[in-house]
Amino acid sequence: MRQQALDMVHELARRDSRVVFIGSDLGPGVLEAMRQEFPDRFFMEGVSEANIIGMAAGLAMDGYIPYVNTIATFLTRRCYEQLAIDLCLHNLPVRLISNGGGMVYAPLGPTHLATEDLAIVRALPNMSVVAPADETEMIRMMGASLDLPGPLYIRVGKGNEPVVTGHIPGFTFGKAVELRSGRDVVLISTGAQTGQTLKAADLLAETGVDAGLLHLPTVKPLDRDAVLSAAVGTALLVSVEEHTLIGGLGSAVADLLADAGVLKPLLRLGLPDAYPTGYGSQEYLLGQAGLLPAQIAAQVQERLAILS
């Protein structure tokens, strides 16, 4: 997914002379083809996220559209004030390509796990937040990103996620995608977790539960109409996210329901308020948090049983 995002930066640079790329201290050879073709619009500025965000802001103030890339934790926690002031207060079209949202860097431990990124960037005025489900959606989103006003946070999965949105044409910021209709329960997910959640919906179907799946590639602004109409048509909403339960997708959905005055059971599945322990794989840590398809399905069935 990251590769597709970066390839699209190069493609966008060909299409539009305003596009520049800024990396921190990425792996050798990253976007080498773009560096060769557009040396003046390729920057690799070292381990200095605060400077990079400020520099991107200055470039954007004078007409450029910077695409900035580094690891999610460093692109959020490390330079949060720069995101807030340099980008969001000035409302500048800077795009943050954030590697490793969630548990992607499982073997590297909690310093590299971006488990609260959606919450903290979502809290910033003017910031749009997306988490594509797969590489096809990443490509479509990037293609649509050029003229989006204001800053954009792009959560990037590990890569090689199952393609679940390949049949969807185009990409519209702020619009949900119904991947499966169902009346007994509607699952709501974002990012790479949508692939896992679709499998959970299949497992539920095998047990006779008619499970819908609403994929929200845009976490902010949330598709209010899609979430409310899903809530009206089902007995249970379930949010699923590879993110702390504080402030992410599930919180956004709960806020939306509360503000709309819609009383609907909502089961929120995500990461606990704790730093993950143990290393292993992304899948291992997701299993620890109960976010693998069979675990999701089981928790949904348990909640449905309580409700009935």
């Binding site: 400077n51 991107a56 450029y64 720069q82």
Partner: protein, 269 residues
Amino acid sequence: MTALDERSRYLRGLIIDALEGGGRGHVGSALSLVEIVRILYDEVLRVRPDEPQWPDRDRFILSKGHGCLGLYVMLADKGFFPREELLRQCKAGALLGGHPETHIPGVEASTGALGHGLNIGIGMALAARMQKRPSRVFVVLGDGELNEGSVWEGLMCAAKHKLSNLVVMVDSNKMQSYGRVEEVMDLGPLPVKFAAFGCAVREVDGHDVQALRDVFAGLPVDGEKPTAIICHTVKGKGISFCENDATWHHKASFKAELAAKMRAALETI
């Protein structure tokens, strides 16, 4: 000690008016940078008050945003906005707040959180070069602001890109909020540090208008390097009882009697 001429006293008088009108404000840090912004706006910056977004303009960023009264009086004097706005600063519905924001004509970047302006200025300087514009970028930092690591990240970046169209000025008044810089966080020899980070360095008495003129006339100092100008200044300059006194960093309740006392002190220079 550098004597202040009539224009410098006039601009300080406007600062006192703004403090009195708004009833609050950062005092010492505005008074220390008056001559820096005065010479820039009077003689150096290529800007158009009636066309603030003119693409080829020079950019000025007051990174030490809390010194904003020193900038506001200059922008008002140049006609970027009506002078009466100074008297409403910080009031509900006012154009001017306690830190500069980009909705104010002539303000290029919203600052106030320290350690942001240089980095934004680097992006602007790169943009000017890429777009083949003659624009130069001037950034004023406080010496307390130099505590922020982002400043040093930025200096490395500016040097790497050989941004000779970037001028970094330090309003080095040797004081920060709590007290003396050398006691709170000793910065050591600034010219040596800036040179080591890749800048062409000049030092100047930041209240000596002729010395400032001379330094600006020599820009860029090195066609391959950003310029750093260490401006030696006095916090609270021009009002004897404000000078070098940390309690004059900020006044949250600024009464008319205080304004009268400051005006009297200014008159006696």
